[in-house]
């Protein structure tokens, strides 16, 4: 499903201020997570259930002897073919009309298959306690501020961004801006590219990257494994009807583990498929 609007991240315009990180926390009332010193000014090693976007800082010597300090607003890409959605045995993850991939907390059982299913290390489990002190888990990640979109407001991160590194606009406008920016930045960033991977039928967050995806820890050509698609779109609905939910969850676990193996061997390297 192609979204009418896209979020565009032009990393070449980012000045690393990190307003997007706290704008997200502020709108979504997310708690702080104090991490160990990362050896750079980066605050968090990666996305977590309470930190839905992280600005990454990457020092890169260029081939011509120059230097670039590469920043990236890292958050959910809202894949059109979303690994997390495909992995979910409870139909708790779905696409909204905005193309955002969201988790229905009422349906989520905290099984964590979605965590394995995501190739971008975006989704993770938050632990809560109920009234009796019993722990339970729910999957959490960026919602693209779907509640704001419903009200005609932009995502909180986009609203805060002062450099137009983050834009939320009509699909065609975003894609044409991406193309024209790519031409403008090629001189300085010869490896610049538009990241909108077609292996997962595109994403609702499109990037203009200043260097190869692998430099940013992104898979060059992500795909949702066929087995996962088959499982989600064919086997699971039929299976649930025939075998019951529990059995299907076990089968789902087997499939998710196999996906995890593919994913972990695949981190940031351009050799698969």
């Amino acid at each position: 499903m192609a979204a009418e609007y896209l979020k565009f991240v032009d990393v070449t315009k980012c000045d690393g201020c990190r307003a997007c990180m706290v704008a997200c926390k502020n709108w979504n009332d997310l708690p702080p997570e104090y991490e160990e010193f990362q050896g750079s000014i980066q605050s968090h090693e990666q996305l977590t259930a309470h930190t839905w976007n992280v600005l990454t800082f990457n020092e890169q010597e260029t081939t011509n002897g120059g230097f670039e300090w590469l920043f990236r607003h890292q958050s959910c890409l809202h894949c059109v073919q979303a690994g997390c959605e495909k992995a979910c045995p409870e139909d708790a993850i779905s696409h909204t009309k905005f193309g955002s991939v969201v988790v229905d907390a009422d349906k989520c059982v905290g099984c964590g298959y979605c965590v394995q299913g995501c190739q971008f290390n975006v989704i993770s489990l938050a632990t809560y306690k109920d009234k009796r002190g019993k722990e339970y888990r729910k999957a959490q990640k960026c919602t693209l501020c779907t509640d704001r979109l419903e009200q005609g407001l932009q995502p909180a991160c986009v609203t805060a961004c002062h450099t137009d590194c983050l834009i939320y606009d009509e699909r065609e406008a975003v894609l044409s801006e991406a193309n024209s920016r790519l031409l403008q930045v090629k001189d300085r960033f010869p490896n610049a590219n538009i990241y909108n991977p077609q292996g997962i039928k595109g994403t609702t967050t499109v990037y203009l990257l200043a260097d190869k995806p692998s430099v940013y820890g992104l898979p060059e050509n992500p795909k949702v494994a066929l087995s996962q698609v088959v499982w989600k779109d064919y086997a699971q609905p039929i299976g649930k009807a025939m075998l019951g939910v529990t059995t299907m969850a076990v089968i789902g676990a087997v499939i998710s583990n196999s996906i995890a193996k593919v994913k972990n061997g695949d981190k940031g390297v351009d050799h698969h498929e």
Binding site: G16, C17, A19, V22, Y34, E35, S43, W69, D164
Partner: protein, 786 residues
């Protein structure tokens, strides 16, 4: 700022030196990137590669403390390649003025230096005058004694090779910067210089800024949209608090504090001494008398010199600035200290010693939102022994900015109103109320006194309504000023009087509160052209948005470029008109006497390429107080006009023990001493750790790995923190030797959600020869693994 934030979009080239706006003034980049989008260039000059550098087109490295060498080289380049804007220079600067014979310069010293006093006789740097007292000029700029030629000679010593041997800048990059910024010298082009504390926090801070201004005058960039010399002020109202006399040497509106010198014994004598004969400051008596009327109301009369004698007088030549204040405190001369939102135990130079000084106080009052390292200086956590500290401490909780109402003045001089969004948290109160309640109590304590010494506090007017909370509207009306008889608000400072018939608490703000109301509350965001939002808030002076904007036009009053029109002379209307308020008498035609005195506030009306500040009329490179190399420009190592304070407060380190240059700075996620930001979860989360940034080369030499704990030492203290080993710092390859530099944020202390050791325990207690701003930005240290 001569210009303002929105105006940055009009620049053809922004040179950012001594500032890191992407981190410390991030929203400036909204406008800088608009300029970049239109083909403008951004140059970042900094000892390390910053978030600003990443958004720049050119990054040039320089060693901390070598700005004058860097800029002197650029001036030399512009003169040699004739890139300067000649018509502008002749018309609007003092380049053509003939300098008096007494002026000379030799081996780092100007004439009239008194070594014992470490000072010059500034009157010896004068212009030659004819019999009528008019300054002699050579408009061809060829006379060897004209400012232009003397300047050319002075900076001919700043050739590229010498300069880069001092700054460590890569030659190709330096030339590229010179060429790129030099292109703004073309008529109609504009370049801006953005600076902040990286420029001012040096023993040569004032001259750093002066030399930026000189380059801008040479290139014809002052007064232009997209031009100017722009100080990026770091606190929300540091502009306003400076405008309102919260420094020892100024009363409101940048006028003098009286001194106990015989000439100033009377108000008449004071005004005579301090009122220039020409330029707009001729009007000073009107502004001063109106201020005294605001201070003492009906108790200020012509008979009692408008209450002039109630004002405290400084001891002549005595320095009461921050460091000298702490020297006096350390020496036991001070009994009491009141602090309003300030945290010197983290933010002060040689902070460990400043903390010690606090324990000599009898009493201290801290007004703040948070318990700071300073208000808690007596605690064990601060390394103190509480039982040994006899200081009584009062903590008064202040409320936050949106829990009260009032205005603040931004860096572009916009006075913007803030409304109250919520009641003060807990029992906290607005500072306005705290000051008011103290004033009422003090007036009550003195009300029955008959001692003459107590007259000032009794005479001070304090009529801000009934009840505990003062009526802020009455305060605003008094700041603007009104007619004492009719009580009508004065619409413009030109209408103030020196006969006691008007009051005005601060003349430069006169005009913000007219009979129309409080204009700082305006929220009309209509762009009147060129990004001038004349009906949004109000800007001092007189709602002018770009200072010196007369100079954006040629001598005959038409813009140097149609694309850069802000004001121009309308010959039909015989007025200066445009999308900004002209910074010029609005009906003074270009072709009459003074019609090209673009900087009409100044006595000569011309921009000062030659101007006497304490260390000389031309900025000259001197090395920082502590540094590892000798001065290649002369045998004078340290700025000869720098004054030393209390020796115990300022131990000096030598290069043999401390071979590494260090600097302090801020990061985007924290603010100043961190009191505001380290007490908040989300910002604490973004930047949780104190770190020391260093090059891979230095780390290797010292056997330090990224994330190791390291100890930095200086002659004054030591700090333990994480090593952040980065490609963004590189050793400076100077002519004499290769010098390493490290840097660290100064936001950390022992209070707050996130804590860390305080960088300022390392910094020296010495400052600029004019402003005494401490030299935080260049000092010596050593670093080792913890």
């Amino acid at each position: 700022m001569t210009n303002h934030w929105n105006d940055l979009q009009h620049t053809d080239c922004a040179m950012i030196i001594g500032a890191n706006p992407a981190e410390n003034h991030p929203i400036s980049f909204k406008w800088l990137l608009k300029a970049k989008g239109k083909g403008g260039k951004i140059i970042s000059v900094d000892p390390r590669y910053t978030r600003t550098s990443q958004q720049a087109d050119i990054y040039g490295s320089l060693r901390s403390g070598s700005d004058i060498a860097f800029m002197g080289g650029l001036i030399n380049y512009m003169l040699e390649k004739e890139l300067y804007h000649k018509e502008y220079v002749i018309a609007y600067t003092n380049a053509s003025f003939i300098v008096d014979e007494k002026y000379s310069f030799e081996d780092g010293l100007f004439n009239s230096y008194d070594e014992a006093k470490r000072s010059y006789d500034k009157t010896s740097w004068a212009f030659k005058k004819d019999e009528e007292g008019k300054i002699l000029k050579d408009l061809t700029l060829e006379d060897p004694r004209c400012v232009f030629q003397l300047m050319k000679k002075h900076y001919s010593r700043y050739d590229v090779e010498t300069v880069i041997g001092v700054t460590g800048t890569d030659k190709k990059t330096y030339l590229e910067i010179a060429k790129t910024f030099g292109a703004t010298g073309k008529p109609g082009k504009s370049g801006t210089i953005l600076y902040a504390m990286g420029a001012t926090q040096h023993t040569v801070g004032t001259q750093n800024v002066r030399i930026y201004a000189m380059l801008q005058l040479l290139l014809g960039n002052v007064g232009m949209p997209g031009g100017g010399v722009n100080a990026l002020r770091g606190e929300s109202n540091v502009q306003g608090s400076t405008d309102f006399g919260l420094l020892y040497h100024n009363v409101n509106g940048y006028m003098e504090v009286p001194t106990a010198s015989p000439e100033e014994a009377t108000y008449k004598g004071f005004l005579e001494k301090n009122t220039p004969k020409s330029g707009y400051w001729r009007n000073k008596p009107k502004f001063y008398t109106s201020m005294l009327k605001a201070y003492y109301g009906n108790n200020a009369t012509a008979q009692n010199e408008f209450g002039y004698q109630y004002m405290p007088k400084l001891t002549p030549k005595k320095d009461y600035s921050h460091m000298r204040l702490f020297d006096a405190m350390y020496a036991g001369e001070l009994e009491g200290l009141l602090m309003f939102g300030t945290n010197p135990v983290v933010g002060g130079p040689n902070a460990g010693k400043e903390k010690e000084a606090l324990s000599k106080l009898k009493w201290m009052v801290a007004v703040d939102l948070w318990e700071t390292e300073t208000s808690a200086f007596w605690q064990e956590g601060a390394g103190s022994k509480p039982a040994d500290i006899q200081t009584e401490v009062f903590f008064l909780p202040a409320c936050a900015s949106f829990e009260k109402e009032g205005s603040i003045t931004n860096s572009g001089r916009w006075m913007q109103y803030r409304w109250q969004a919520i009641q003060p948290k807990g029992e906290s109160k607005a500072d306005l109320e705290i000051i008011h309640l103290l004033a009422l109590r003090l007036k009550e304590l003195y009300q029955n006194s008959t001692k003459p010494a107590d007259t000032p506090i009794k005479a001070m007017s304090w009529d801000y309504g009934h009840g505990n909370h003062p009526d802020i509207d009455l305060v605003c009306r008094e700041i603007n000023g009104y007619d004492m008889n009719t009580k009508k608000q004065i619409s413009l400072f030109a209408n103030l009087k020196d006969d006691g018939s008007t009051c005005s608490g601060n003349w430069i703000y006169c005009g913000f509160y007219t009979e129309e109301g409080n204009l700082s509350k305006r929220r009309d965001h209509t762009d009147e052209g060129m990004g001038n939002f004349l009906n949004w808030s109000w800007a001092w002076p007189a709602n002018r948005r770009i200072l010196g904007n007369r100079a954006s036009c040629n001598p005959s009053g038409q813009p140097w470029s149609k694309d850069k029109t802000v004001v121009y002379w309308d010959a039909a209307k015989r007025l200066w008109v445009g999308n900004d308020v002209a910074d010029f008498p609005k009906d003074r035609a270009p072709d009459i006497e003074g019609g090209t005195d673009a900087f009409f506030m100044l006595p000569t009306g011309k921009g000062g390429l030659f101007a006497g500040v304490n260390e000389g009329p031309f900025p000259e490179h001197y090395e920082p107080y502590e540094n590892p190399v000798s001065n290649v420009f002369s045998n004078i190592q340290l700025n000869p006009a720098v004054k030393y304070g209390l020796e115990e407060m300022n131990a000096k380190g030598e290069a043999k023990d401390f071979p590494i240059v260090a600097t302090t700075y801020r990061i985007s996620e924290h603010w100043q001493s961190g009191a505001m930001t380290r007490n908040q979860p989300w910002l604490s989360e973004l930047a949780s750790h104190m770190f020391i940034e260093m090059s891979e080369e230095l780390a290797k030499e010292k056997g330090i790995k990224n994330k190791d704990k390291v100890i930095v030492t200086s002659a004054r203290g030591k700090v333990e923190a994480y090593a952040l080993v980065t490609k963004r710092f590189k050793p400076h390859k100077l002519k004499e030797k290769t010098v390493h530099q490290i840097g660290m944020p100064w936001h950390f202390g022992y209070k707050g959600i996130v804590t860390g050791e305080t960088a300022n325990r390392l910094t020296p207690h010495i400052g600029d020869a004019n402003t005494t701003i401490p030299e935080y930005k260049a000092f010596l240290c050593d670093v080792r693994r913890a």
